[in-house]
C-alpha cells in the first residue's frame, strides 16, 4: 500500500513537472518570435541611417541576405517599419518584405509588401480606407500613399496584379488576424495609391 502511494506521488510529480516544462518551452517559443521581430527592427533602423548616408544595400547584421529598401510609417507615426528586400520566410521574420518581382514604392506598377499578421503587420487590421501611409526611400525621396481598398483574398484562387498604370502599393498579410493556423489560404490586402 505504502509503496503504491509513493509511486503514485512520484508519477504525478513527474507528469506535472514535465507538462510545466513543455508548457514554458512552448510559451517561450511564442514569445521569441515577436521578440526577434522587434530586435531586428531596432537593428534595421540603424542600418537605415547608414542607407540614407549613401551606403548601397547595407546589411542590417553581418550575415544578413537582405537589406532595407524603404521605411514605412502609418497611423500618424505610431507605426514605423523598415521594409526589407524579398518575401522569403527568413526575411519576413525580421521585417515586412518587398517582393522583388514587384515595382518599388512610387514607381509605376504595383509594389507588393508582405508582413506577418502577428508581428509587424498586426496593425493592418486597424487601417481604414482613406488613411495615409508615408514611404521613405533610401535616396531621401518621400512618397505619400492613401488607402483605397481593403480586401480579403483566397490565395489559392486569386493573384496579385503587378502591372498597374499608376503607382500603387499593396500591403499583404495573413487573414484572419489572431487565428492559430499559420498555413491558412486567406490574405488581407490593403491597397493604396500614390498621392504625391
Amino acid at each position: 500500500m505504502q509503496r503504491r502511494t509513493r509511486f503514485k506521488r512520484f508519477a504525478s510529480k513527474l507528469i506535472v513537472s514535465s507538462l510545466l516544462c513543455l508548457g514554458f518551452w512552448q510559451f517561450g517559443q511564442g514569445a521569441y518570435i515577436p521578440a526577434k521581430a522587434w530586435v531586428a527592427q531596432e537593428l534595421m533602423h540603424r542600418a537605415w541611417q547608414k542607407a540614407e548616408g549613401g551606403n548601397q544595400k547595407p546589411a542590417p547584421w553581418p550575415w544578413a541576405d537582405t537589406w532595407p529598401v524603404a521605411r514605412l510609417s502609418a497611423k500618424g507615426g505610431e507605426i514605423e517599419l523598415i521594409i526589407l528586400e524579398g518575401g522569403s520566410g527568413r526575411t519576413l521574420a525580421f521585417g515586412p518584405g518587398h517582393l522583388s518581382i514587384s515595382a518599388l514604392p512610387g514607381q509605376n506598377g504595383n509594389s507588393i509588401i508582405a508582413g506577418h499578421r502577428d508581428t509587424h503587420f498586426q496593425f493592418l487590421q486597424y487601417m481604414k480606407v482613406g488613411e495615409k501611409i508615408t514611404v521613405d526611400l533610401p535616396d531621401g525621396r518621400r512618397h505619400l500613399f492613401q488607402v483605397t481598398d481593403i480586401d480579403v483574398v483566397d490565395s489559392r484562387r486569386g493573384s496579385l496584379i503587378l502591372d498597374t498604370d499608376a503607382p500603387t502599393m499593396s500591403l499583404v498579410t495573413c487573414y484572419p488576424f489572431g487565428a492559430m493556423d499559420a498555413g491558412g489560404p486567406m490574405r488581407y490586402v490593403v491597397s493604396a495609391e500614390l498621392l504625391i
Binding site: 506535472v16 507538462l19 517559443q29 518570435i33 496579385l160 499583404v172
Partner: protein, 726 residues
C-alpha cells in the same frame, strides 16, 4: 465591407454573452461540490482528456468559417475584389476514364468525363481540361442513363447559341470548345441534384516515334498559366485571371485549382496492336498491368485509380531488327485518298559530327510554377548539360521569372573555372515570381556571332504561359542561325508549347516529368545536339497528282526522328512516294510504292488536323488574314467533324427536364494541382503568419493542464480522500 465585417463580429459577441448568462445560475456551491466529486472519481482521466482537447483545439473565429468558401465565378483577381457567399462549395464532382486503341501509328482515344451533381440545386458544370496537342477531336456523346445523344459539329458561335438556348429552356446539353491546341472546355447544362451525366469525347492522334521507341502521352491536369499583360475590362469566362491585352482569353484558360480532392480520379485502359513483337511496353509515371495476347497488349492501371495530377505516358519498343523503317496508311473519303507516311532515315547517316565548336545557351525558367520537384528536375538536367560541355565550346546560363538575368554578360569559354561558377549558380537557383518569357527569348536569341560557332539554345521550362502564339512568333522572327531546343519539365508540362516552340526554333523537344528519367532523357537530347541532322528534306508524290501535304516544308531531322507527312491526293492514286535529304555524310534517297499501304480509318481526320495547324501557323506568320484563316479552318473542320478554334461539338437533348421555377447554378470544375507543385509559389502570395500565437496558446494550455493535475493529484492523497466521499 468593413462595416459588415464588424457587424458579424458583434453578432458573435452577443451570442456568447447570452450563452454565458444561461449557464451562470447553475454555478452555486452545491453544483460546484458535485463537479469536484465527479472529477475525483475514477472517470477523472476521461475528463482530463476532454479538458485537454478543449485546451489544445484552437478557437476558430466565426468570420473565418464564413469566408473560407468562395464562389470561383465571383473571384476577380484583376481588381482583388471578392464577394462573399456563405456555404458555397462546388457541387459538381468529376472523374475521368480514358480508353486508348492503338493500331500501328494511329491511336483512337475515348475520354469519358463523369459529372456528378452532389448539391441540392440544378447545376451547369464547366470543366477546362488538357488533351494531347495534336489531338483531332471528332466525337462527342452525352450519356443520360441508358441512352446517349451524339454531338454535332457547328461553327463556334452557332454551337454556343444552340447550347445557351437549350440551357435556358431546361434541356440537357453539352458543348466541347477548343481554347488552345491542347486546352478544351466541356460545358454540361442542367444536371439534376444527385444525377450523373457522362460526356464522352473521342480523338485521334499520331503516335510519336523517337529512337525506335513509340510513345503516347495523356495529359490529366493544367499547370496554372502565367498571364502577362494589363487587364482589360470585359471577361469572356470566369477563371481566376482577368482577360489582358496580351492574353485576351485569359479568363477561359485559368480554371480554379484544388490541392486535395476525393474525386478527380483517372481510370485508364488501352489496347495496343503494335503489328510487331515488342521488346518492352511500359508506363513512365503509373504502375500498369499488361496482358499480352500475341502482338496485342491489354493495359490497365495496377492500382485501378490514379489522381488526375500528372501526365500518363505509355512507351513501347519493337524487338531489335523488327522495328519498322517505313509505314504508310491510307483512307479514302469522298473520292480522295488520304495518306499518313512515316519513314526513318538509315542509322548510318548519323555519325558524330566532325567537331564543330558550339555556343550553348541554357535558359532556365525559375518562375513560381517551377517551384518544388520541377526545379529539382531542371537543376539536375542543367547540371548534366554543363557536364556535357567540351573544351572549345562557349556557353552561358540565363534564368527568367518576372525578369531575365544572365550569369555572364556574354558567352564564355567552357573552362573548368567557368563551368564551376555556372554549377554554383545553378545550385543556388530558386523558383518564384512570374513567367515573363518574352525577354528571356529575346536575350537568348540576341548577340548572335556569325560563322565560327554552332549556336544552340536549350530552353528548360514547364511552358505554363497563356501567350503561346506571341512567343512562337517571336522565336520565328529572331531565330537567325540559332537552333532552339525545348525541355519540358514537371508533372503537367504544356506539351503544345514545347513542340511548337521547338518547331519554330528548328530544334526538337524533350519532356521530363520525373527526377529518375532526367539522365536518360538528357542523354537522348545530347545525341540530338551533337549528331548531324538530315536537312533539305523533300517529299515527292507521283507525277500528275494534286496533293496537299502537311507539313509543307519538312523540318530538319535529328538523330532517331522519322519523316512524318500527312497528305491528301485527289482521286485514286498509283505510283510511288520518294523522300530525299542531305546529311553531312551524304544524301538519303528512298522510295515507297503507295500500293503497299494499309487502309486505316482516322487517317483523313489526322490529315485535316494537320491542315488546320498549318493554316493557323500561316495566320500567325502574317501569310494569311484572320478572316481567310477562319473560313478555311471552318470548312475543313466542318467536313471532317473536327473541333477547332472556330468549330465546336454540341449535343442537345429534346425534352426539357429542369422545372421552370428551379434555378441553375453555373460552376467551374477545378483542376488538381499538378503533383509536386506548390500553389503559394504559383500565385505569388508569401506565407504571412507565424506560429507565435499557436506556441503561446499551446504553452498556456499545457501549463493549465499541469495546474489542474496538481490540484487533482493532491485530492488523491488518502487523508484528503475521505473528506470528499459524502
Amino acid at each position: 465591407m468593413q462595416s459588415r465585417q464588424r457587424k458579424q463580429h458583434k453578432d458573435h459577441m452577443t451570442e456568447q454573452s447570452t450563452r454565458a448568462k444561461t449557464w451562470h445560475p447553475q454555478t452555486d456551491r452545491e453544483s460546484f461540490r458535485k463537479l469536484r466529486q465527479i472529477l475525483c472519481r475514477q472517470a477523472t482521466w476521461r475528463w482530463m482528456l476532454v479538458v485537454m482537447m478543449f485546451a489544445v483545439v484552437p478557437p476558430v473565429p466565426a468570420q473565418q468559417i464564413e469566408r473560407e468558401g468562395v464562389a470561383p465565378g465571383d473571384m476577380q483577381s484583376g481588381s482583388l475584389l471578392l464577394k462573399m457567399k456563405s456555404g458555397y462549395a462546388v457541387a459538381t464532382r468529376m472523374n475521368t476514364a480514358i480508353d486508348a486503341r492503338v493500331n500501328g501509328l494511329v491511336a483512337r482515344v475515348s475520354v469519358r468525363q463523369e459529372f456528378r451533381n452532389d448539391g441540392k440545386e440544378w447545376v451547369e458544370g464547366i470543366y477546362v481540361f488538357p488533351l494531347p496537342d495534336g489531338a483531332a477531336v471528332d466525337h462527342l456523346r452525352m450519356y443520360i442513363g441508358e441512352r446517349f445523344i451524339e454531338g454535332e459539329i457547328r461553327e463556334k458561335e452557332q454551337a454556343k447559341k444552340e447550347y445557351e438556348a437549350a440551357k435556358a429552356t431546361g434541356k440537357k446539353a453539352s458543348l466541347v470548345e477548343q481554347q488552345r491546341a491542347n486546352l478544351f472546355t466541356t460545358s454540361v447544362a442542367n444536371i439534376a441534384p444527385d444525377e450523373t451525366v457522362v460526356i464522352e469525347i473521342e480523338y485521334l492522334e499520331t503516335i510519336r516515334l523517337d529512337e525506335e521507341t513509340f510513345s503516347l502521352r495523356f495529359p490529366t491536369t493544367i499547370t496554372p498559366r502565367y498571364i502577362p499583360g494589363r487587364s482589360t475590362l470585359d471577361r469572356k469566362g470566369s477563371g481566376w485571371s482577368a482577360d489582358t491585352n496580351r492574353v485576351p482569353d485569359a479568363s477561359l484558360i485559368t480554371p480554379p485549382i484544388v490541392v486535395n480532392s476525393t474525386d478527380h480520379k483517372l481510370t485508364f485502359t488501352a489496347d495496343i496492336n503494335a503489328g510487331v513483337p515488342l521488346e518492352f511496353i511500359a508506363s513512365r509515371y503509373h504502375v500498369i498491368d499488361v496482358v499480352n495476347d500475341n502482338e496485342r497488349y491489354q493495359i490497365g492501371l495496377a492500382d485501378g485509380l490514379s489522381p488526375l495530377d500528372h501526365d500518363l505516358e505509355l512507351t513501347w519498343k519493337p524487338v531489335p531488327d523488327r522495328s519498322p523503317r517505313a509505314m504508310m496508311f491510307t483512307e479514302s473519303v469522298a473520292g480522295n485518298s488520304h495518306v499518313l507516311l512515316m519513314m526513318l532515315p538509315p542509322d548510318d547517316l548519323s555519325a558524330p559530327l566532325p567537331s564543330v565548336p558550339r555556343e550553348l545557351i541554357f535558359v532556365v525558367d525559375t518562375s513560381g510554377s517551377m517551384h518544388g520537384t520541377s526545379m529539382e528536375q531542371a537543376k539536375r538536367a542543367l547540371g548534366l548539360a554543363l557536364s556535357g560541355l567540351k573544351p572549345g565550346d562557349r556557353f552561358n546560363v540565363i534564368q527568367f521569372n518576372s525578369t531575365t538575368s544572365a550569369l555572364f554578360p556574354v558567352s564564355v569559354e567552357a573552362s573548368t573555372n567557368n563551368v564551376d561558377i555556372a554549377r554554383h549558380y545553378v545550385i543556388g537557383l530558386a523558383a518564384n515570381g512570374g513567367t515573363e518569357m518574352r525577354s528571356a527569348i529575346q536575350q537568348a536569341l540576341a548577340g548572335q556571332q556569325s560563322g565560327a560557332h554552332l549556336r544552340q539554345v536549350i530552353f528548360i521550362t514547364d511552358g505554363s504561359v497563356g501567350n503561346e502564339d506571341e512567343l512562337f512568333g517571336l522565336i520565328e522572327q529572331r531565330l537567325g542561325n540559332t537552333r532552339l531546343f525545348t525541355v519540358g519539365i514537371g508533372s503537367a508540362p504544356n506539351s503544345w508549347f514545347m513542340r511548337k516552340a521547338a518547331e519554330a526554333g528548328r530544334g526538337t523537344f524533350t519532356l521530363i516529368s520525373a527526377l529518375h528519367e532526367v539522365g536518360e532523357k538528357m542523354e537522348r537530347l545530347f545525341r540530338k545536339l551533337e549528331q548531324p541532322q538530315l536537312t533539305d528534306i523533300v517529299v515527292e508524290w507521283p507525277g500528275g497528282a494534286i496533293v496537299q501535304a502537311y507539313p509543307e516544308i519538312t523540318p530538319d531531322l535529328y538523330t532517331g526522328e522519322p519523316v512524318i507527312v500527312r497528305a491528301r491526293l485527289d482521286g485514286e492514286v498509283v505510283g510511288s512516294v520518294s523522300v530525299r535529304g542531305n546529311s553531312a555524310l551524304g544524301t538519303w534517297d528512298a522510295e515507297l510504292p503507295i500500293g503497299i499501304s494499309e487502309p486505316r480509318s482516322g487517317v483523313a481526320a489526322l490529315w485535316a488536323r494537320a491542315r488546320i495547324e498549318d493554316l493557323m501557323d500561316r495566320q500567325r506568320r502574317g501569310a494569311s488574314s484572320v478572316d481567310e484563316t477562319r473560313k478555311a479552318v471552318t470548312k475543313t473542320a466542318l467536313s471532317h467533324h473536327l473541333v477547332s478554334k472556330y468549330t465546336s461539338l454540341v449535343a442537345i437533348d429534346k425534352t426539357p427536364v429542369r422545372p421552370a421555377n428551379a434555378s441553375l447554378n453555373s460552376e467551374l470544375v477545378p483542376n488538381l494541382l499538378p503533383y509536386g507543385q506548390s500553389q503559394s509559389a504559383i500565385f505569388g502570395f508569401p506565407a504571412t503568419a507565424t506560429n507565435a500565437a499557436l506556441y503561446r496558446s499551446t504553452g498556456l494550455a499545457l501549463v493549465s493542464i499541469a495546474l489542474i493535475l496538481m490540484f487533482v493529484f493532491r485530492r488523491w492523497r488518502p487523508e484528503n480522500a475521505t473528506a470528499y466521499q459524502v
